[in-house]
Symmetry: C2
DNA sequence: TCGTGTGAAGACGTTCACAGCT
DNA sequence: AGCTGTGAACGTCTTCACACGA
C-alpha cells in the first residue's frame, strides 16, 4: 500500500464532495470549479484540489472538473462500485433502532443480517432483516462475503464479539459501543459514540457561559 | 476565551479518560499513573499528561493521579456538573429510533422534548417524551433553557431548522443529517453521519483487496 | 485569462526526553 | 527512585501562492 500518506480526513471529505457532485448533477451542471465545489462542501478550494491529487488528476486547467467524471472517479476510489453487504451485530435498543432506520440502504449499503445473543427476544416489528444467534456469525459472514459490520453490543461484550468478527473476515467495523476496540492492522474501526458527542458539546456550551 | 489552543480531540479524550476513571473507581482504585490510565484509554502516556495540563495540574509527581479528584476535575471541565436538558428535533425514522434508544439518559443527558413538522404522525409507542410541532421550538427551548439539540431532520430541512434552533438559544447541535450546517461562531456542531462512516470503511476494505 | 496542480510555508497536534517535585 | 509537567523536536495536515496547461 503506497498510499499511506493520504490523510484519513481526506477520505471523509471525498464522500462529502461526492454528495455535492450528485446534487450538481441533478441540477444539470456539467462542470464545476474547485472553488464552487469547495464552497458547497464547506472547505477551502486548495484543500479540495489537494485531496483530489492524492488520487490522480481529474481536472482541466482553466476549466474545472467534469461533474460526471469526477463523481465516477470518487466512487471508484471509495470502493462503492458495487453494493456492499453489511451485518448488524447486537440487536438491542440501538441495534433495532438502526435496523428500523434503514437510512443505510438509501445510501447503497444493504444490511443483510442481524445477530444477537438472544435472537428470540428481538422484537421484530418493522424489521425486514433476519436475526440470527451469535453462533451463526462466522459461517454466515464467510459464506456471504460480508466485510462490513455495524457493532451495537454493550461495551462489555464488544471486544469479544469483535474478535469473532475479525476471524470471520470482517475488515471494517462501525462501532457504536463505548469501547476502544483492539483489532489487527488490516481491520478498520470507525467509532460512533453518541454519549461522547453530547459530552463534547456540553463542554463547548459551558465555555460560552464564562 | 483564552483556551483557543486546546485541540478539539483532547476534549473527546477527556471523556474517554473519565470513563476509564469511573471503571477504576468502581474497582476500588484510589490512584493511577499516567501510563496505566493512558493504557486503558488507548493513548500514549505523554498525550494523557499533555491533555490534562491544558486544564491545570492534577497529579502528584512520583505518585500519579487521585482517581476521585481527577474524575471530579474532568467532570467540571466538561460542564457535566448538572444534568443537561436536550431537545430532539425531527422525529422521523432515525429520530424515533434515538428516542427509543434512550442511551443518552444513562449517560446523564435528559431528552426533555421532541419536535416534528407533523407531530401527529409520530408513532408514540415506547416514547416517553412529548412530541411538539416545530412552531413550539423557540418558546419551549427558551422557557426551559435548553442549550443542546439532537438534529434528525432530512438534509433539505436541516439548515432552516438549525437557524431556528440558533435563534432559540441552542449552543450545541448533534447533527445526524447529511448536511454541512452554517452556524454562528458561538454555536458548536458535531456531525454524526452514518452513511459517511460506512462509506469511509468501504474505502479501507477495498484497499485490502489490492 | 482562468483554474488546476503543487512546492513550500505555515499551523496544528503528538511525542520525546528530561527537569523538577514528592 | 518514581512519575508528573513541559520545552523542544517531530510529524502530519492545511493553506498559500504561483507555475503551468487549456
Amino acid at each position: 500500500m503506497e498510499k499511506a500518506e493520504i490523510p484519513k480526513k481526506a477520505i471523509y471529505r471525498l464522500s462529502i464532495y461526492q454528495r455535492c457532485l450528485t446534487k450538481l448533477h441533478e441540477n444539470g451542471k456539467e462542470t464545476v470549479s474547485s472553488s464552487a465545489l469547495a464552497g458547497a462542501a464547506g472547505v477551502k478550494p486548495a484543500q479540495l484540489r489537494r485531496d483530489l491529487t492524492y488520487f490522480g488528476q481529474f481536472g482541466t486547467r482553466g476549466l474545472g472538473y467534469s461533474v460526471q467524471d469526477l463523481r465516477g472517479a470518487i466512487r471508484e476510489v471509495l470502493g462503492r462500485e458495487q453494493l456492499q453487504p453489511v451485518a448488524l451485530v447486537g440487536a438491542g435498543n440501538l441495534g433495532v433502532a438502526l435496523l428500523r432506520y434503514r437510512g443505510f440502504e438509501k445510501e447503497g449499503f444493504e444490511v443483510v443480517a442481524a445477530f444477537d445473543s438472544v435472537p428470540e427476544t428481538v422484537v421484530s416489528r418493522g424489521i425486514a432483516v433476519p436475526v440470527y444467534s451469535f453462533k451463526e456469525i462466522s459461517p454466515f459472514l464467510r459464506d456471504n462475503g460480508v466485510k462490513l459490520a455495524i457493532l451495537c453490543v454493550p461495551g462489555e461484550a464488544a471486544q469479544e464479539v469483535t474478535n469473532e468478527l475479525v476471524v470471520a473476515g470482517v475488515q471494517g467495523i462501525l462501532n457504536f459501543s463505548p469501547t476502544v476496540l483492539q483489532v489487527p492492522g488490516a481491520v478498520t474501526v470507525n467509532n460512533v459514540d453518541l454519549a461522547l458527542e453530547l459530552e463534547n458539546l456540553s463542554y463547548f456550551v459551558s465555555q460560552g457561559e464564562e
